[in-house]
């Protein structure tokens, strides 16, 4: 558990240093209310997807279909929303209906992923690669490749409104992150997920229903993608299948940067949230400094490599330190020969 905490401390220090540096150099631009709000608006879109991938990774899997689930759920919600004028229901009811439909479709997609991984025994990376094409394909078929526009005005509140001055989607993101933290640390499902990720065989012999744990994991992960879908279509006020393809690798990267072990058994909501913040602050900083979006790509790659190299040296140092301690203790315990 020690390494878990130090990883988060590393990220926290990184976050503070990056934020401190950028604030020191660009106090007017970076610390302005407008910029902070912008950051709060952008961050949930890929942040939720990163959390979704973290969940899959804790069980030793990965979810490459998150962006496609976002597209499909978005298309379903948008189809209902764009018909609001012809549906004989109050606008509010239509919006709730659209959100529920999006979440239901997402949950179905997640259950499908889960069944493939749990019952067919397909490795998650391949299963979700396949469903990635499948779900996006369905979304494209539904829209015939066109976008859908024309939502009720009040729906825009989710993606463009503020609650007490804070962007709505940021509030949603924080609430979701807190709930996920509870799920992982305070429920049997969370405990079983870590257990399955560490050693599926031990989990099975401890009486855990591994298949059910996996299905629940992928459904939760897909629900996060569904929430991201609602936020995205509300803020851009339209839907186009394939929106946010770049978020796929970014979400995997953020999850790993946040200390999640892609082999399974390890990952915290706090770590991933911190890494989402680091990425967002860097992104805004580079934007304000006038760097092209390509520098960002370069920076993410570099950041990930540096963090991993840092972990390598830290682990090595810790091992040596422990080895030295063991030697010292042993030397102290050696009884002096009698006589």
């Amino acid at each position: 558990m020690n390494t878990k905490r130090t990883n988060n401390v590393t990220l926290l220090v990184l976050f503070l240093v990056v934020t401190g540096l950028i604030s020191a150099f660009l106090p007017q631009d970076f610390l302005s209310i407008r910029n902070l709000r912008n950051m709060g608006r952008q961050l949930p879109e890929y942040g939720l997807l990163a959390l979704a991938n973290m969940l899959a990774m804790i069980t030793g899997g990965i979810d490459l279909s998150v962006v496609s689930i976002t597209s499909l759920a978005g298309v379903v919600a948008a189809t209902i929303l764009s018909q609001y004028a012809s549906i004989a229901l109050p606008v509010g009811v239509t919006i709730v209906l659209a959100i529920l439909a999006a979440l239901a479709v997402a949950a179905l997609c997640g259950a499908f992923n889960g069944i493939l991984v749990a019952y067919a025994g397909v490795p998650a990376i391949i299963a979700t690669l396949g469903t990635n094409g499948l779900f996006l394909g369905i979304a494209i078929i539904l829209t015939k490749g066109h976008g859908i526009v024309g939502f009720p005005d009040s729906f825009g509140f989710i993606g463009n409104g503020n609650l007490l001055g804070v962007p709505v989607q940021f509030v949603v993101f924080i609430v979701v992150a807190l709930l996920l933290g509870l799920l992982l640390n305070r429920t049997a499902q969370g405990f079983r997920m870590y257990m399955f990720g560490s050693n599926p065989l031990v989990a099975r012999f401890s009486g855990v229903n591994n298949e059910l744990v996996l299905i629940k994991t992928y459904v939760t992960s897909a629900l996060l993608a569904g929430i991201a879908a609602i936020i995205i279509i509300s803020s851009v006020n339209s839907v186009r299948p394939g929106y946010g393809v770049d978020y796929l690798l970014l979400s995997v990267l953020i999850a790993i940067l946040g200390g999640t072990d892609p082999v399974g058994g390890f990952g915290t909501v706090l770590g991933v949230t911190l890494s989402i913040f680091v990425v967002q602050v860097l992104q805004s900083g580079l934007n304000i400094l006038g760097f092209s979006p390509f520098v960002k790509k370069f920076t993410w790659g570099l950041l990930l490599l540096l963090i991993m190299v840092f972990h390598f040296y830290r682990a090595r140092y810790q091992q040596r330190w422990i080895a030295r301690r063991v030697v010292q203790v042993k030397e102290a315990e050696v009884p002096t020969p009698p006589g």
């Binding site: 493939l116 067919a120 025994g121 397909v122 490795p123 990376i125 391949i126 299963a127 690669l129 396949g130 469903t131 990635n132 094409g133 499948l134 779900f135 996006l136 394909g137 369905i138 494209i140 078929i141 015939k144 490749g145 599926p200 065989l201 099975r204 393809v245 796929l248 690798l249 995997v252 990267l253 790993i256 892609p262 082999v263 092209s292 390509f294 520098v295 960002k296 790509k297 370069f298 920076t299 993410w300 790659g301 570099l302 990930l304 490599l305 991993m308 190299v309 390598f312």
Partner: protein, 335 residues
């Protein structure tokens, strides 16, 4: 016969034959020499990438940086040729392959020295290489007019020509020859050399290989440099094929295609098992499916859906088979 039935490749070939038969019945235009030559021309590049990815997968690793390497290689090669005013295809190949080898070495360095999981290293370097190129080299696409002539003539070069009824010619592209050479070299390395046996063994148990006194580091350098080299070759072929050098093209789509093809070909994502024949059949399957749905009268909107569906069905069947087999042997392995 029994041996043949137990093979994944047999079933894949069967599926391909049935699929081709169905297309031919619906649309006889499919079963022409010209269409198959066209298929060979268009999918040779993908097949070369798939061979590289297959080698990495065999060794128990995964490399998702190869599309980025291919783009960077071809884009820098095209731009250097224009800047130098030299119109030489060999130089283009040399530049692109050197870049591929160098990037492969970077991957191998982080993988072997720092023991970082291969997925993480290549995810990071894919972003690093592509981002660096877009920032420091350029973002402008090179269109057909500006493209050096050697690329265009390479793309149009045929091994031999046949004639249609109206007298116009079509032929088997030189790309197919490149693919055959790459496939033969890879087959030889994997099946006829110690290095190849070590690569298979590493996928089975990398620790056992290390303890039997083999320098895993050098093998890893070979594997990742080889993938880089193949990506470099594919980059040049791709520019010559589409006669256009785009610095942002093929990043994600090609990655997913290649992984899908190799996995459909029966290679295990955990490493250690799979055959080159399977990989090539996988590429054939995906390419035929993708490029010929139109001949069945199915709208192109359905393309993505069908590729996904075939992948999901294909891998589900093979893994359910494996699972049933391990149940019978009472092996509680995680499959």
């Amino acid at each position: 016969m029994k041996k043949l039935l137990a093979k994944n490749e047999t079933y894949l070939l069967l599926v391909i034959v049935v699929f081709c038969a169905v297309i031919t019945i619906v649309n006889p235009a499919f079963l022409t020499v010209e269409n198959f030559f066209d298929l060979a021309r268009n999918s040779s590049g993908t097949a070369i990438l798939a061979i590289g990815f297959f080698v990495v997968l065999l060794s128990g690793g995964i490399d998702i940086s190869f599309p980025a390497v291919a783009i960077v290689g071809q884009y820098i090669a095209v731009n250097s040729l224009i800047a130098l005013g030299v119109d030489n295809l060999l130089l283009a190949f040399a530049i692109s392959c050197t870049i591929g080898l160098a990037f492969g070495a970077v991957n191998a360095f982080f993988i072997s020295v720092f023991k970082i999981p291969t997925l993480i290293v290549t995810l990071a370097t894919a972003n690093l290489f592509h981002g660096a190129m877009l920032e420091f080299v350029g973002t402008k696409a090179v269109n057909t007019g500006q493209l050096p002539n050697s690329f265009k003539s390479f793309g149009l070069f045929n091994l031999f020509d046949l004639h249609r009824a109206d007298g116009s010619a079509y032929g088997l592209s030189v790309f197919f020859l490149v693919l055959v050479i790459v496939a033969l070299v890879t087959w030889f390395v994997l099946r006829r050399t110690l290095l190849g046996r070590i690569i298979y063994a590493m996928g089975g148990n990398s620790e056992a290989v290390r303890r039997s006194g083999i320098r895993v580091t050098s093998v890893q350098f070979f594997i990742y440099c080889y993938v880089g080299l193949l990506a470099g070759i594919m980059g040049i072929m791709h520019v010559s094929l589409i006669r256009y050098s785009n610095p942002t093209y093929i990043v994600d789509s090609e990655l997913l295609h290649v992984i899908a093809a190799v996995v459909l070909g029966g290679a295990s994502i955990m490493g250690g098992s799979g055959t080159l024949t399977g990989t090539l059949l996988g590429v054939a399957m995906i390419s035929i499916l993708e490029k010929n749905l139109v001949l069945l009268g199915i709208s192109s909107y359905y393309q993505q859906f069908f590729v996904g569906l075939v992948l999901v069905l294909g891998v589900s069947i093979t893994h359910i088979q494996r699972r049933v087999r391990s149940r019978k042997q009472l092996a509680f392995v995680r499959d």
